[in-house]
Symmetry: C3
């Protein structure tokens, strides 16, 4: 990756004017700090628009965004649909049952078919790690990974970072604790990558059975005791526990999980006073998070995350549509 001037401040207009170099957004791991901040700067431009009466731009008029979801996710799909429509694009939703795409080969045929329909932007969610990257090699358009197996969910990390930056002014130097089922979480992977890239100190908290081997090598500190891990944290980011894990031998019961790793007011007191709480949603109340924390408007950023998600996705669509890498082909 080429060296870029990292001293560019986010208020610098020239940073916004610079083209995004990536053709796709597949993983935070593909971005350098300059590119990541470029996306957050673009989001800053769109965030105020969300509260306007008329939210529609013509930036992507006549362009087509295909929302290809192999896993259900009303929340993420709607966020991309809204972002696309607000940018003026035509949005086509395709929900494909995974049963009908059991074989890997079919994914490639699906890619070829979609490519032939000449979309400009393809948002894909798939249960297999690497699916978005595989698709990206078979199509001409820009591909956005909206979650692939246990690998990455880059727009979630971008919206999380943007939410933190909007509230605290920046990410650099913050202590951010990510807590829960790290093992199965693409949200955790993308967030560790982005937050460390932006200069935060990241901690991972969770039971040994839900912590990937070698998590320390991601550049984060690992804790199995939640109170120790929360000490001095500026931000506590809770992960969703998949209900199917509860009977998978990963931990004895939802009740026991909550006892050790559920965020309640008592545990939150171990973090820095005024520490903020985040969750990618949808929440399992009483499992990984207590309602007294989730609904406390002075600490919870959970709704802000959803709102910022639309702005961040608008930013990503704009950046990829403008990207030199995508313009060359047309």
């Amino acid at each position: 990756m080429a060296q870029r001037p990292t001293g560019v401040k986010k208020t610098d207009e020239s940073a916004r004017a610079i083209r995004f170099r990536q053709k796709h957004l597949l993983a935070i791991a593909d971005l350098d700090r300059f590119e990541a901040e470029n996306l957050l700067d673009r989001a800053e431009k769109f965030a105020p628009l969300l509260d306007e009466r008329v939210k529609k731009l013509d930036t992507l008029r006549g362009r087509t965004l295909i929302n290809l979801f192999f896993e259900n996710s009303t929340r993420t799909q709607s966020s991309f649909e809204l972002a696309g429509k607000r940018m003026g694009a035509d949005v086509v939703n395709m929900s494909v049952k995974s049963s009908s795409v059991a074989k890997g080969e079919t994914l490639i045929d699906t890619a070829a078919t979609l490519n032939a329909m000449r979309p400009d932007l393809l948002v894909v969610r798939h249960g297999s790690s690497g699916a978005a990257e595989l698709l990206s090699r078979k199509v001409d358009c820009a591909v956005i990974n909206a979650g692939d197996g246990k690998h990455e969910h880059p727009t979630q990390a971008l919206l999380d970072a943007f939410t933190i930056r909007s509230r605290l002014g920046g990410v650099e130097g913050l202590i951010i604790a990510i807590c829960g089922d790290v093992l199965h979480s693409r949200v955790a992977r993308s967030n560790v990558a982005l937050l460390t890239l932006l200069g935060a100190q990241v901690r991972l908290i969770g039971p040994p059975t839900l912590m990937p081997a070698g998590a320390e090598k991601w550049g984060a500190k690992v804790f199995h005791d939640m109170r120790a891990g929360l000490k001095d944290a500026d931000v506590v980011m809770m992960l969703r526990v998949q209900r199917e894990r509860m009977t998978g031998g990963f931990f004895p019961s939802a009740r026991e999980y909550f006892w050790f790793y559920g965020l309640d007011e008592e545990k939150l007191r171990h973090a820095k006073p005024g520490a903020l709480v985040m969750h990618p949603g949808p929440m399992n109340r009483g499992v990984e998070i207590d309602s007294t924390v989730a609904d406390n408007a002075s600490v919870s950023l959970i709704e802000t995350q959803v709102r910022m998600g639309v702005a961040v996705r608008m930013a990503v669509l704009e950046a990829l549509a403008e990207s030199g890498a995508n313009e060359e082909r047309s």
Copy 2:
């Protein structure tokens, strides 16, 4: 509710120019006569547009309507989708399986999530009475109840009243018989409220097992004998019988139901000569209505109801978007 001049005629331009005061449309019970007629007057403006070649307005351009359906209803969902698109809005459909929202708490989280996406109009159908009202307390945007449990379905009542008014010039003084499974019917509840508000005499006809206790207090006369109930009726409004009721002990069989409460030509002869027939659809032919009646174009208004449904929903979207109550927040 403040007193309003009720002498305003529907042709009075000033009536149309007046802003709708309600923030939401949750129940007919929330409306006064002036507000109800304001909505019908607006619909009159949109009805001719449906037969135009180009049906698109820019009234809601850049605004977002979310169609949130917890129960399947292709008919109602499409009607709102068309109304929204014809008014120029961006429409996002969200079909949520009730299985994934078993707990009441999740509805509030869904509301918070949607609210954070900053829609302008939220149309909601849900299997539980009161769900739309609950949502409306948690979001900033205008909420339209598209059917909540056994409670209300206000746009259905408005389109029924608008259909009658378009055909017969008005509702005041008419005898309107609503017949069938009143107990489980939100359509009946909304219609009794609206038609009595507009000055009609409403009758409820059905077997005792399908008539709610205290139905007389709604301001309608109750009949268990269909022929007696139909006597002198100007309009006969049939209700859909849910097939699951047929095995629920409410009545012995579909055949027996039809014998006593199914509308056929013989029973219709007990109503006023030229009486009109309505049904909210979809029909169970041979159960609550006979095809000789349903398909008789000189008495059946069933297709007109569907057409008027789009005009009435355009009117409701316009009224709520213009509403002072909604403008204040933006």
Copy 3:
């Protein structure tokens, strides 16, 4: 059908300017050669647009297209959705489970309901032969058959002919072999009708159990030996084998089917050198077609078919919207 000058060349501007006379597109069998070529000429106008950055036209702005699918088909539905949106129409998707429409009568009620919503164009796919035609008699708008049972799938045939014409300059005089499960294939029926109308020599290849009685009367030659049928063919069009046929006694196993009727490089060598390969998709690789053929870009037109599908559907939407038969009613 009135006689038309058949000597009009496809480059003749006057041909394009002529109005399409049909009100609906239900079956290739309803078209004369002049009308078929008119549609292909229109598609030629739209094909280059697909590679443009901005693909949106205003031709159908303010018009409504309803995509009514009683059978799942992500591919065909998306193609029509894209075509409609690129022409500027509002597109409403309705996916109806066949379970809820078991009775034929319901189809007519659905038609009446849709008609009352005043769409301009209704695209319908249904599992029963004749469903599109039945619908067309009950609605005022233009109906496009997107596949009805074993009957016809006219836009598939049009996109196939257009793909051949784009690659080989024309269809007249070509030898085109259609191979596989002809018995159950609406694609085969529509293609035989269109390709013979356009002057090609059509052959049908398949096992006797999958060949309809009297197929010779369609104007095609019938072969049960694939190598004999492929001799001198310019184009080989493979049909999809429905997996449910494999256990239905039509043939012993997928492996045996591939042995006799699966297209691989060896069998393809029996066709004319440079013969082109087509498939309507989605493919069953290793059943009716081998990957070495499907993925050979120098002979396979499979992705081109998908791309041309959007252009052909834009052409059909334009032709029907402009049709004198449809203009009269508005």
